[in-house]
Structure formats: structure tokens, C-alpha cells
């Protein structure tokens, strides 16, 4: 029976399936010109062309359960855009994204926090933003507060917090919403060494329990630490997909700028 179950897991639907994903942005939307720019254009005959930037040009890959996929690539390669589409922030221009499970994006420092509200109120608000009900939050409130290590400040307004405290609280909330897919976009760099280690341990445990992780990082050591697979995205396409060590080696030998400059 157990073997059967394991086999079933092997053939189950992928957690994320991305098929021929394209995304382009209109850079200067001429339809939203100001009155000034409109007046300046009166003499000119040629209408300014819509500048379209193709950020993703046909990305396809599947992510299975328990996979921890690191995404590397130079700035502007389309990594964050891709993650944003998975998090349902952007709509694809063409292609499709299929997601099986609850997605929890790790909110960047303070983006979901209101400075005037207390830590506790912000925990509630952020957890609800990620789809928890009030009862579910009450159940795991202690865990969140303990994990963030800010118990004595939890009744204080967030504006009195240090950036490290806010980042810890943010991670604590996102990692306790029992999502099946965790999205991390370069936000682990904040926080002290111990806390980053704690986060990595947490991510590893999450993965062992069957969670799926998609993360962008410029730190090759953290990729080698926790990733089971690595995607190299370059100019909107997947240039390489495979074992983290090999991909990073190839990426670093190809990229003209060293990774330290990018981070």
C-alpha cells in the first residue's frame, strides 16, 4: 500500500505547470499622456509608437511536489515577473500557468504592513491577505510570534520596529499560512545571520513535508544549500534547467558580472 501511495505521488499532477508563457509590458502608454505632452505633439505628424517590452518570451516548465527551485539570472531577465505571474499579480500576455495548491508569496519588507497598527494587528491583516481565516490565525498566533522573536513588542505599532524585526515578522506570517507553494523573491537577505539560518531550516522542513518552493536568489551558497533544482533565466527564456551545482557553474562562467555585484 505504501509503495502504491509513493508511486501515485510520483505521477500526480505537477504543482506548477507553466506552458509557453509570454509577458510583455507597454512602456510608455501614449494613451495616458499629459496635457503638456499632448500639446507638444500637435505639430508632429507621426504618432509616438507604443514601446512594448517583451520580458518573458516563451517559458515552459513544471514544478513537482517537494521541489525547491532556485531561479538565477541577471537583473531584468524576467525572474521577478515570472514569480509575480505565479503569484497571480500579473496576467500572462499569452500562454498559461496552472497552479495546484495555495500559494503564499513572501511579502517584502513592510509591503503589507501598516506602520500605525500594532504587530498583532498586522499579523492578522497579513495572514488574511494570504488567505487564512480568523480562527486559523488564532490557532497559530503563538507560533508566529515566537518564530519572529518579537513577543515583547507585539502590542507596539510597527513603526517602532527595526527593519530586521519587520522582516522576521513578515517571514513568520508567510511561513505559517500552510501554503503548498512558497514564493520567495530575494527578501531573505534581510535579518541577521541566525534568523536567515532559521529561515533556511524552516524552508527545508517545509520542503520535506511536501511543500514546493520557488525562489529567486543571487547568493550561490544559499542556492546550493536548499535548492534541489535550478533554472537559469536569460532574456525571458529558460537557458538552463537542472542540478543547482551545474547550472550555477555554467551561469557564473557565462555571466560577465560576478554575482557579488548583482547582490
Amino acid at each position: 500500500m505504501a509503495i502504491c501511495g509513493a508511486r501515485l505521488n510520483e505521477v500526480e499532477a505537477p504543482k506548477i505547470r507553466i506552458t509557453d508563457l509570454h509577458k510583455s509590458f507597454v512602456l510608455h502608454d501614449v494613451h495616458i499622456g499629459t496635457l503638456k505632452s499632448w500639446l507638444l505633439r500637435i505639430g508632429q505628424k507621426a504618432k509616438p509608437k507604443r514601446q512594448v517590452k517583451h520580458v518573458l518570451r516563451g517559458i515552459s516548465f513544471d514544478v513537482k511536489r517537494r521541489e525547491c527551485v532556485a531561479i538565477v539570472g541577471r537583473n531584468g531577465a524576467g525572474k521577478s515577473t515570472m514569480l509575480s505571474i505565479v503569484a497571480k499579480v500579473y496576467r500572462p500576455t499569452s500562454g498559461s500557468v496552472e497552479i495546484n495548491g495555495r500559494v503564499a508569496p513572501l511579502l517584502e519588507l513592510g509591503s503589507g504592513f501598516h506602520p500605525d497598527l500594532t504587530g498583532l494587528e498586522n499579523v492578522y491583516f497579513n495572514a488574511m491577505l494570504l488567505g487564512l481565516t480568523e480562527d486559523q490565525i488564532k490557532e497559530r498566533l503563538d507560533e508566529i510570534v515566537d518564530f519572529a522573536e518579537i513577543r515583547e513588542y507585539i502590542e507596539e505599532p510597527i513603526r517602532t520596529y527595526s527593519s530586521g524585526m519587520i522582516a522576521r515578522l513578515g517571514f513568520a506570517v508567510a511561513s505559517h499560512v500552510d501554503a503548498e507553494i512558497l514564493i520567495v523573491d530575494e527578501s531573505l537577505a534581510v535579518g541577521d545571520f541566525q534568523f536567515v539560518q532559521k529561515c533556511y531550516a524552516h524552508i527545508r522542513r517545509f520542503q520535506m513535508r511536501g511543500g514546493t518552493i520557488l525562489f529567486v536568489s543571487h547568493s550561490s551558497s544559499s542556492i546550493k544549500d536548499i535548492a534541489t533544482r535550478c533554472l537559469w533565466v536569460e532574456q525571458g527564456v529558460v537557458k538552463m534547467d537542472g542540478n543547482p551545482d551545474e547550472v550555477i557553474k555554467e551561469y557564473q562562467s557565462n555571466a560577465p558580472s560576478p554575482e557579488s555585484a548583482a547582490n
Binding site: I99, S111, F125
Partner: protein, 325 residues
């Protein structure tokens, strides 16, 4: 249910009872979800909406000593000033004039504040909506609901005020049976403000002129609504046709309706005085004009249309909010 441990929290399997397979497919080729599906999605996020409303109510007076009382002080001061101006300077002798001002001013403030607040709601939350998905309409909606809560509280105060009037003058009860239509009117008013708020908040992302326009229009609307005067004045100075045109404005109809159902009809008395040539003119009584069913039906239709249209425009634009550079 067992108290979950940290590791169990992380596991999808740790919650057999709460296991929900969330399956979502984003496909560029389809025409987007229908309005019914959008509403279903909004319903799924009702807890977030309610928490946003609570947050809004909490933040507003967070660092003030008087807190919630400010919600009442503002209209109170306005009403006192207006009553003073009209009673002593313009010599309007309507009994309980302050109650009439209040009955019109409260819904008008809801309209004004609801729109002013929600105009900035999406722009202000751009950093957040760039990071995480949730139905975007929650942002303007939470502000409209928060303002609606203020309206309800203020309406409670209004009835207390009527009770106070009754105590000081028990001969005549200021309470009216027609006040039972109030919930219906409140719902209609809510629909109208929500529709406008969805429209305005979405357009303001792309054209920030919208919020300035809203400021000017609501300022003008104040004079185009029967708050400081009685709608009868319009009837007797512009005639039936002008009166009809005047009430094509749904906000004016609503403000008027609040007054008509909450308070006794008030014949207008122009005090005796002198005309331009110095001849004495006697008191002139102008009979009260009742609320017409036709106006109300038209306003209901307009409100519901604006709600539907606002939501449609919002849904069309909402995916482009984050792409606005």
C-alpha cells in the same frame, strides 16, 4: 482538534480537515472571468474585506484622544453653523431646522467622503498589490464600508437628537412612520457610492486628474443637493420641469429622500418683508412637495446601473493596475 506543532503547520497534510486543493489556471486566451465568478471570488475573501474595514476604522482616529467622537463633532459643528446662519441671518423659521440640515448632511458626507477616500485607495496600495494577489475591489470597497459604518453611527445619533427634540417639546413627536423605509434607502445609497467608488478608484490609477475632479464635483454637488435649503425652493422657483431636471441627479434625490422619510413635510414660509419697490408683502406659504415614486424608481435604476457599470470597468482595468508605470 489537536493543537498543531510548528512542523505540522508547514505541512499541507497536517490539516486533513482543512485541506483545500486550490486550483487556479491563468490563461491569457480566455476573456477573463464573468461578473458572477468575480463576485464569488470576492465572497471567498470576505474575511479580508472585513478585516480591512476594521483596520480602516481603527486607523482613522488611532492617535487622537477623542477618537470616534470626531465622527460626530464634524457634522455637529457644520449643523450648528448652518442653523445659526439660516435662523438668524436668512430668517428661516422652519421648526427643527437643524434636524433637516442633519438629515441631508449625513448622507451627503457619506457620499463625499466615500468617494474622496476611495479615489486614492488603489494608488496608495500599489506596493502591496504588486506583491500579493487578492481581489482588488476590496481596497475601495473597504473604504466605502468604513464610511458606511460612520453613516450608520451618525444615523443613530440623529435619532438620539430627535429624541432630545421630543423631550424638550413633547407636544409633537418628530418621529415618522415612514422612517421604516430607511434601510431600503441606505442600501440604495450604498450601491450608488460603491459604483462610483469602483469607477473612480480604477480610473484614478491611470489619470490622477480624477481625484481633483472628484473634489470639485462633490463641492458643486453640495449646492446641487437639498442640504442647506429645501427642495420645495427648487419647485417653486424653477417650476415642475426644473424640479424634474434637478432630481435627475441621483445624489439630490437621495438626500431629499432621507429628509422626506425621516422628518415631517415642511411647508415653506417666506416671512413678510418688503419687495424692491418698498411695498410690504405678506407671508407666503408654499406647500410641501411630497417625494415622488417616479423619482425614487429612476434613482434606484441609476444607482444599480452605476454599480454594475463601475464594477464592470473596474474588472476590466484591474489587471492593468500593477502594470501602470
Amino acid at each position: 482538534m489537536l493543537i498543531p506543532t510548528v512542523s505540522a503547520l508547514l505541512t499541507p497534510e497536517g490539516y486533513d480537515d482543512a485541506e483545500v486543493i486550490v486550483k487556479s489556471i491563468q490563461n491569457a486566451s480566455d476573456r477573463g472571468p464573468s461578473m458572477l465568478e468575480e463576485l464569488k471570488e470576492l465572497w471567498n475573501y470576505r474575511a479580508l474585506l472585513m478585516s480591512m474595514v476594521r483596520r480602516e476604522l481603527n486607523i482613522r482616529y488611532k492617535n487622537s484622544v477623542l477618537g470616534f467622537l470626531w465622527s460626530f463633532i464634524n457634522p455637529l459643528v457644520t449643523v450648528v453653523v448652518m442653523t445659526f446662519v439660516f435662523k438668524t441671518i436668512m430668517r428661516n423659521d422652519t421648526p427643527n431646522f437643524s434636524a433637516y440640515v442633519l438629515a441631508g448632511y449625513l448622507p451627503f458626507t457619506f457620499f463625499q467622503m466615500g468617494l474622496m477616500d476611495s479615489a486614492q485607495s488603489i494608488i496608495g496600495a500599489l506596493p502591496l498589490i504588486r506583491k500579493v494577489y487578492f481581489p482588488r475591489e476590496i481596497l475601495p470597497l473597504s473604504l466605502v464600508i468604513a464610511n458606511f459604518v460612520h453613516l450608520l453611527l451618525a444615523m443613530g445619533m440623529f435619532f438620539l437628537y430627535l429624541a432630545f427634540i421630543y423631550i424638550t417639546n413633547p407636544a409633537e413627536s418628530p418621529f415618522r412612520m415612514t422612517a421604516m423605509y430607511l434601510p431600503f434607502l441606505l442600501i440604495l445609497n450604498f450601491c450608488l457610492v460603491t459604483g462610483f467608488s469602483l469607477l473612480i478608484s480604477a480610473l484614478n490609477v491611470f489619470y490622477e486628474d480624477v481625484k481633483y475632479l472628484v473634489g470639485i464635483i462633490t463641492y458643486l454637488l453640495f449646492f446641487m443637493c437639498p442640504v442647506m435649503y429645501f427642495s420645495e425652493k427648487i419647485y417653486y422657483s424653477l417650476g415642475a420641469k426644473g424640479y424634474y431636471l434637478y432630481f435627475l441627479n441621483p445624489v439630490a434625490t437621495m438626500v431629499n429622500a432621507y429628509r422626506k422619510i425621516l422628518l415631517a413635510p415642511q411647508p415653506q414660509i417666506t416671512k413678510e418683508g418688503f419687495d424692491k419697490l418698498g411695498h410690504k408683502i405678506p407671508d407666503m406659504v408654499q406647500a410641501a412637495v411630497p417625494l415622488s415614486m417616479r423619482e425614487m424608481l429612476l434613482t434606484s435604476a441609476i444607482s444599480l446601473f452605476i454599480l454594475w457599470y463601475g464594477y464592470r470597468v473596474f474588472n476590466k482595468l484591474k489587471w492593468r493596475f500593477v502594470e501602470r508605470v
